[in-house]
């Protein structure tokens, strides 16, 4: 068995010593392949990567010395080198003996530079594999020859296919432990072929190998002379990369940044997602639809006549068209689609599950919009690929759901373009990346429902009433005094001749929202509807007052986002829980304490106080009358500045 410490020696390419310039010239024209390795710790995956790094001379003597010491101390290979230790990264993980995140490793051969994404095979880490696979051209799926196709093999294959990886390599590892038996290998390949076709994988390449001994990893193996195909490395060196495929599609480039160093230059910077572009070609700005021609192309090395997929360039246009970050420049005759609703496959990546109906930031290409996700149509069991019903998506769930954006975005189905079809969802409160999504198709509705163009504008509505619309959003615990103060404010506004309307629990919960319960999802939908109604009323020029507990920051922020800047006025009625409970006007706290009301804010459900409300009312220090006076002054006072 090779792998013993004494066998290791650094063997540089002879050409380096003989003719360094020739060596460098040869290496300058290398292509690059990114691949992901999938398998569990038990499959010997880290050992295989360590072997690739070692055999391709990506390991230096000092790293080798550290490796020897580590192998002796915590290794699992007795007196032999434990290649797995080269790959397992963080100190905490080393003690556990597993990798728990995506690690990127680099090595190169004469033909190629390789970037390996290494992700663990453990069930709870679907997230990591999808992350690592999202940038990969190929996937190496490891199988332990002794065990054959396992549930996790199916899972890895499904995920690789889901993310759109076109080159699947089945690495049948540990052949040394099954006596290098051709029959074992053939059976595994037959089993896998049967399964692969059921999930849509048409092609794969199977290689029998041993990461531990190095057989068929970088070179042929005497022990398996029955295998005549390429070694793993030779196969990876020969795989076609996706550049050429992308280049043959119609031109698309998301505008990343507008470059305006002076008044004479206005360039649109971005990385070309697909196709090629040449000076003088007609392009369309999407979504506006304006057509113009390419005036100049600035590549990394200066002015060019043409540029192709994958390159980062700066384009100038012949006409002064409106174009900014988030727009897409596309082939004039073949532009991408525009829609605000689609069906997408979503991989949930956060501990906090999806809140259907809640607003998230959706980032796709260089576009960022506010979006909500509907309850999933179904969740996929990654082990059986069966469809299950589920009300939401939890960590590592994969589901299909409808996504609604607050404005139309430019996109393509993910199968056609990862750049314009893949998106992330960002939690608006924590800013964490909570999900990855892949657009399947737009919803038909999106193409047919157009905003009605209205002649009497919201400005005209407001001007007729001689006021600026506002939404005065009162939030606070049950019994804090929201309704009392909101009522006083409306009376005062009415007396001043202002046009207003108060939305509160009674006129909403008993009518518009009577179908909603008090679960978290019900509460989110309740506030969403109230927000939409408030917005319509503000469009009509009214001053809208709302008095709801509205316990979640995310929903209040969502309503704020529906309105023009400055029109949403968050008013925090700040009454401590014990005081509100002592008042207990409606006797609700007593019932909640007795367990008769589930999900009661402050008792069994959280209240997220506003960070920076426009107005805060401390009800222990200010009477309702004084608070109402101050709120009216704030609203009217701000107007006088505007007018």
């Amino acid at each position: 068995m090779s792998g013993a410490v004494s066998d290791l020696a650094y063997r540089p390419d002879d050409l380096i010593a003989e003719d360094i310039d020739a060596y460098l010239a040869g290496h300058a024209a290398k292509s690059m392949l990114r691949f992901i390795t999938c398998g569990s710790v038990d499959d010997g995956k880290s050992t295989l990567i360590g072997r690739l790094l070692y055999d391709s001379r990506a390991i230096f003597a000092d790293q080798l010395a550290a490796l020897e010491a580590d192998s002796a101390r915590v290794g699992t290979q007795g007196s032999n080198i434990d290649f797995a230790l080269l790959v397992d990264g963080l100190a905490a993980e080393r003690e556990q003996g597993i990798t728990i995140d995506v690690a990127y490793r680099f090595f190169s051969t004469e033909k190629r530079k390789f970037i390996v994404a290494d992700t663990p095979g453990h069930e709870q880490y679907t997230r990591n594999m999808v992350t690592g696979a999202s940038t990969a051209d190929a996937a190496v799926i490891l199988i332990d020859a002794r065990k054959g196709i396992l549930t996790q093999t199916r899972r890895h294959s499904y995920l690789a296919h889901l993310v759109g990886i076109r080159h699947i390599v089945l690495a049948v590892n540990k052949m040394d432990l099954v006596d290098h038996d051709q029959g074992v290998f053939a059976q595994i390949v037959a089993d896998y072929a049967g399964f692969a076709s059921t999930i849509g994988i048409d092609e794969f390449t199977a290689i029998p190998l041993s990461g531990l001994t190095g057989a068929n990893v970088t070179g042929p193996s005497d022990a398996m002379d029955w295998y005549t195909g390429p070694s793993l490395l030779a196969h990876l060196e020969a795989l076609p990369v996706d550049d050429a495929r992308q280049a043959s599609w119609p031109f698309r480039m998301s505008v990343q940044w507008v470059n305006r160093p002076d008044l004479d230059f206005r360039g649109f910077a971005g990385q070309i997602a697909a196709g090629t572009v040449s000076v003088g070609e007609r392009v369309r700005v999407v979504p506006s639809g304006r057509i113009t021609t390419i005036a100049t192309i600035l590549g990394p090395d200066g002015v060019r006549q043409t540029a192709t997929a994958g390159e980062s360039v700066t384009l100038t246009l012949a006409d002064e068209v409106d174009c900014s970050r988030g727009d897409v420049l596309a082939a004039a005759g073949d532009p991408p689609q525009v829609a605000d609703q689609f069906v997408a496959t979503i991989v949930w990546m956060a501990d906090q599950p999806l809140a259907p109906g809640r607003g998230y930031w959706l980032k796709l290409g260089t576009q960022t919009v506010n979006a909500t996700v509907q309850p999933p149509r179904h969740v996929v069991d990654v082990n059986t690929q069966g469809h299950l019903a589920a009300p939401t998506l939890a960590l590592n769930d994969i589901g299909v759901a409808e996504v609604y954006c607050d404005r139309p975005i430019v996109f393509e189905p993910y199968r056609d373009s990862t750049d314009l079809g893949g998106f992330i969802l960002i939690d608006r409160a924590t800013n964490a990346t909570v999900a990855a999504g892949m657009i399947d198709q737009p919803l038909r509705r999106a193409g047919n429902v157009h905003w009605q163009s209205i002649d009497v504008t919201r400005e005209a509505h407001a001007a007729q009433k001689g006021q600026s619309p506002r939404v005065l959003w009162f939030t606070g615990l049950s019994g804090s005094g929201k309704s009392t103060i909101a009522n006083l404010v409306e009376k005062k506004l009415h007396a001043l001749g202002r046009h207003s309307f108060l939305l509160d629990g009674d006129n909403i919960r008993h009518g518009l929202n009577r179908d909603l319960d008090f679960s978290e999802a019900g509460r989110i939908e309740n506030i969403r509807r109230i927000g939409e109604v408030a917005r319509l009323m503000a469009d009509a020029g009214l001053i809208v007052l709302t008095a709801f507990i509205s316990p979640f920051r995310a929903e209040r922020d969502m309503v704020r986002g529906l309105l023009p800047p400055g029109e949403f006025v968050e008013i925090f009625i700040d009454t401590p829980l014990d005081v509100a409970e002592r008042r207990d006007v409606k006797g609700l706290y007593a019932k909640a304490r007795a367990g008769e009301i589930a999900d009661f804010t402050g008792i069994s459900s959280p209240y997220e106080a506003p960070d920076r409300p426009e107005i805060r009312v401390d009800t222990l220090r200010e009477t309702p009358e004084a608070a109402a006076e101050r709120i009216v002054e704030h609203v009217i006072g701000v107007w006088s500045h505007e007018l």
Binding site: D62, K113, W257, G267, F423
Partner: protein, 299 residues
Amino acid sequence: MSGLTHLQRLEAESIHILREVVAEAANPVMLYSIGKDSVVMLHLAKKAFAPGRPPFPLLHVDTTWKFRAMYALRDRAAENAGMRLIVHRNPEAEALGINPFDHGGRHTDMWKTEGLKQALSLHGFDAAFGGARRDEEKSRAKERIFSFRSASHGWDPKAQRPELWHLYNARLHKGESLRVFPLSNWTELDIWQYIVAEGIEIVPLYFAAPRPTVERDGMLLMVDDERFRLRPGEVPVERSIRFRTLGCYPLTGAVESEADTLSAVIQEMLLTTTSERQGRAIDHDQAASMEKKKREGYF
């Protein structure tokens, strides 16, 4: 049509990253350490924003103990790029006279780790470009390209955001910041190949030349100025040396070499049997030392 070469792909990716930060961050800055990686990073920034200048300043967190040749290139490179150069020296370290001879690990902690945090907070930078590469060290292999730091500049490996496709999440709350590494996917050889291909100027210390040296604790140190404290019996000896990595001169080990051209340097790099970080004294402190330093806020 033939595809892009690996260097073209890396270049395009780095430019994309640089522009994404400028589009999304409020107040970005580029850390400039004058080493070969930051020289390449600056070169890429010039390309990304041409024909304009990169719309952010350069920041050098100085320890006062860098090689003289580094200071010379620093000032010239910033001027050539037409960028503002901010030099920050930790006033506390300056007052205490912290130096590599008397203070060991505290020298790096106070000048670099603390100095960096001070400078970022002082100027309110919300995104800082750094030249780190994933191939440098094991704990860097799983570092994100956009690395999220808490308001106290801490790095929590569990709180890092998943990075999918080429979509980077640059959203921050007040006080939080990002470290962004446009060279994440470059290897040492890529850097050298790019320097050759683009004709980028690097500090002459990377090339072999006769220089005054002493041998100490298994390292070959260069006597760069009169502040170098010779131990009893030590006499500077002229040797032909070069550096594979540059930092504070009393902490940076040289290698004996005759390689005085780029190809010769790359040839030696490829034939040598030690990795580049070995020349840095700070990494030998303890196992997993880099990860510990990152948690504390070291770049």
